[in-house]
Each structure stands twice: as structure tokens, then as C-alpha cells.
């Protein structure tokens, strides 16, 4: 049974992770560091707007071609996954608006599965997609 403290801890970890993730993604000089947030040596399931990105090399290639981004987050939700111990595995969703090259705005939705491996939190499943276009 999931304890209340797990939910509290998950909320904390999710907000920390969200801060870290989009900070790296939106910083042109640090964007490639985001690859370090994906679990090494684990089967990776990453899908961004229909593009399947099964490993670090694919993520790097995809991000290289992505215009500069600025993510404005509306809401973050997170829950501990079954079998978790002390919030070491959680499901997280993010909704907001992304701006490309200070011009094009798109509503986006992202779902992440985060797991603690060797004391560090990593993404093991990632799904990112556009919803609507913003004027």
C-alpha cells in the first residue's frame, strides 16, 4: 500500500526533476546535458511528437535539430508507481506551452516515468507531444 509520505516525497522529487529537465532543455549551452537524465543501460522508451528515440544517440541527434525552446509550465502531476519504495519510482505528467525561437507557440503535454537507479533519479520512459497551436 502506498503511504502518504510516498506521495509527498514524489511531489517534491517531481518538482525538482521538472525544474532540472526544462532548465537544461531550454538552455542552448546546456541542452545536451539532458541526455544524462536518461537511464543508462536500461531499455529506454522515448517518443517525442511521434519520433521514437531509443537511446542516447537518438536523443542527441533529435535535440541537435530542435530549435531553441522556452517551456512555460501550467501544471505538474505525479504519483508513486506500484512496487515503489520511498518514492523511488514515479509517474509524472506536465502540461504547458512551448515557444520555439521566440516565435511559434505550441501547447504540449509530457508524461515521464522516473526511477531511482544507484541513488540517482533517471527517466526510463518519456512521451512528449503537441496538443494545440497557440496564437
Amino acid at each position: 500500500m502506498t503511504e502518504y509520505s510516498d506521495c509527498t516525497e514524489v511531489s517534491k522529487k517531481a518538482l525538482e526533476f521538472r525544474q532540472q529537465f526544462y532548465q537544461l532543455l531550454d538552455d542552448p549551452n546546456k541542452r545536451m546535458d539532458i541526455v544524462n537524465l536518461y537511464a543508462p543501460g536500461t531499455p529506454l522508451l522515448c517518443e517525442w511528437n511521434g519520433h521514437s528515440l531509443p537511446d542516447a544517440a537518438s536523443i542527441t541527434a533529435y535535440l541537435s535539430g530542435l530549435p531553441r525552446t522556452n517551456h512555460k509550465i501550467d501544471c505538474v502531476d505525479a504519483q508513486p508507481l506500484p512496487g515503489n519504495e520511498h518514492a523511488d519510482s514515479f509517474l509524472m505528467t506536465v502540461h504547458g506551452v512551448v515557444t520555439y525561437d521566440n516565435e511559434h507557440r505550441r501547447e504540449f503535454f509530457q508524461r515521464l516515468v522516473i526511477r531511482k537507479v544507484d541513488g540517482r533519479y533517471y527517466i526510463i520512459n518519456d512521451y512528449y507531444r503537441w496538443l494545440s497551436e497557440k496564437e
Binding site: 536500461t42 502531476d77 504519483q79 506500484p82 505528467t93 526510463i124 520512459n125
Partner: protein, 124 residues
């Protein structure tokens, strides 16, 4: 069945029930199920069903437009649904995002985690 078939079939059936006989959704939740309903945290099938009995609407038609599935590492299925819900007497549908983590218990699929959000629509 592949994880895709499981996820799609489950989601389609879920919204069918949500639209027509909401009380029957009790069967897909367990005592350990977690639901975040528009930011509100609920734990356990009983709490979730009690919440569904107190929604601000009685009649709604849910239409899943996109259903995307991934296998989860714990042999479950991760489902993301993007769709619309039309409330009775409303002209414009609302847009929603729903995420399920499906797990198995005694060979039966159930929802262990669900995160639901209205993300727009309503004529805006």
C-alpha cells in the same frame, strides 16, 4: 495480446463505461489505485468511485481521439489518451488528457495509476 492492443481496448472500454454506466468503472480499480482528478489526489477504488458519484455533471460523452501506449518496465502498460468530453447541454466540448498505468492482478488488468486533466476547449 500486445501492450498496444491491451491499452487501446482498455481505454476504449473505459470511456464507453464513463459515458454510459459510470458505476461499472468500480471493477477496474483496486484498493491501491491512485487517481489525480484535475489536481485532486484520490487513493483507492472506493474514494475514486465516490468522487465519480459527485461530478458536476450527469451526462457526458467521452471521445478518445488519440490513444498511445508503451510497455512499462513492471510488465504493465502506460496509456496516454487525448480526447474530448461533451457535457450535456453544452455546445463546445472540453479537451482532456488522461494517463493510465495498467497493472495485472490474477490475470486481470486494472488501473494502478491515473492522472486526468481538462486542458482546454469549452469554446475558448
Amino acid at each position: 495480446m500486445s501492450f498496444q492492443e491491451i491499452g487501446v481496448a482498455f481505454a476504449r472500454q473505459y470511456y464507453e463505461f464513463f459515458s454510459k454506466s459510470r458505476d461499472q468503472l468500480a471493477g477496474v480499480y483496486r484498493s491501491n489505485s491512485l487517481m489525480t482528478w484535475m489536481g485532486e489526489q484520490l487513493q483507492g477504488g472506493a474514494s475514486i468511485m465516490a468522487r465519480f458519484a459527485n461530478l458536476g455533471f450527469n451526462e457526458a460523452i467521452f471521445k478518445a481521439e488519440d490513444i498511445d501506449c508503451h510497455p512499462s518496465l513492471s510488465n504493465g502498460v502506460l496509456v496516454v489518451v487525448n480526447g474530448e468530453v461533451l457535457l450535456k447541454d453544452e455546445r463546445h466540448p472540453l479537451k482532456f488528457n488522461d494517463v493510465f498505468h495498467l497493472a495485472q492482478e490474477n490475470g486481470q488488468w486494472y488501473i494502478s495509476n491515473q492522472i486526468f486533466r481538462i486542458v482546454g476547449g469549452g469554446g475558448q
